[in-house]
Subunit: 143 residues, 2 copies
Amino acid sequence: MSETDPSQIKGFNRARERASRALLEDYVEMIADLAAEFGEARITEIAARLGVAHPTATKAVARLKREGLAVSRPYRGVFLTEAGEALAEQVRARHRTVVALLRAVGVPEDLAELDAEGIEHHVSTRTLKAFEAFLASQGGKTG
Amino acid sequence: MSETDPSQIKGFNRARERASRALLEDYVEMIADLAAEFGEARITEIAARLGVAHPTATKAVARLKREGLAVSRPYRGVFLTEAGEALAEQVRARHRTVVALLRAVGVPEDLAELDAEGIEHHVSTRTLKAFEAFLASQGGKTG
DNA sequence: CGCGAAATGTAGCCTTGGCTACAAATTTCG
DNA sequence: CGAAATTTGTAGCCAAGGCTACATTTCGCG
Ligand SMILES: [Mn+2]
Ligand SMILES: [Mn+2]
Ligand SMILES: [Mn+2]
Ligand SMILES: [Mn+2]
């Protein structure tokens, strides 16, 4: 029998939900980066930077539009909505904090950047707060 | 133009690969848990603990079998192969270390357990080593 | 201006990972 | 033993996220 632990189920469900949001988050962050750099994000450039074929990026952008995070017109650039911008800012901040935390516990910079790309999407708001508090308490300690 | 940064692409590709392995890892770990507890893992119990419908678990187990991580016969329990056992052990160790690290930087226990369920799959071997070294250097410090 | 190159769109295919509904086997128990 | 309950299998649906191949539009430039 063994009463199935509800908190464990919660953990798995949560991980699955976050995994399904991960792609959206990376796209939004990338579009924000390109907007900052070029004034607009083109499908080809988004695809190139994310390492996917362009129809893959087109589909993802369609999903972003459907979810109210971006807008675009045929053969033109992609732009974030206000909701998209807000998400981008949040995602970017989380990315920075995760990298900083990894660095603080001794992970080399390049590796921290690589692993953070996946880890970031699974760090909850409260955990992020804990990371920030830890980093603050550490000051600029390096070794 | 802006030469597309290859290491950034690498990060995204790596995150995608790890995401696709995450499910397998959770199943293998769960099957090992059930084997330890009951001597075998039944489809219904696997599904219940992972919070999915039983045909979903059946499909996942089919994939595990295809990849040589598990074996089973119709209407019987699921068992890990040697490769499956080895993966389970590795996954379990990583899970423990990730939770310990989160705790060490100030994340409350329940939250650490929840977030770790997703984070664990994106922690590389070298990053895990760094976590272990950090934890060792910390000793049993709590506050 | 107009033509070739580049960018974008679209169609269609695949795999994974969810689900429900229903069929068949196994276990439990009166 | 046999019927009911439980477990497992199977069919078939959906969405997401990959891809290639091909059509169309836009852009750059002689
Ligand atoms: Mn990412
Ligand atoms: Mn990121
Ligand atoms: Mn997990
Ligand atoms: Mn785990």
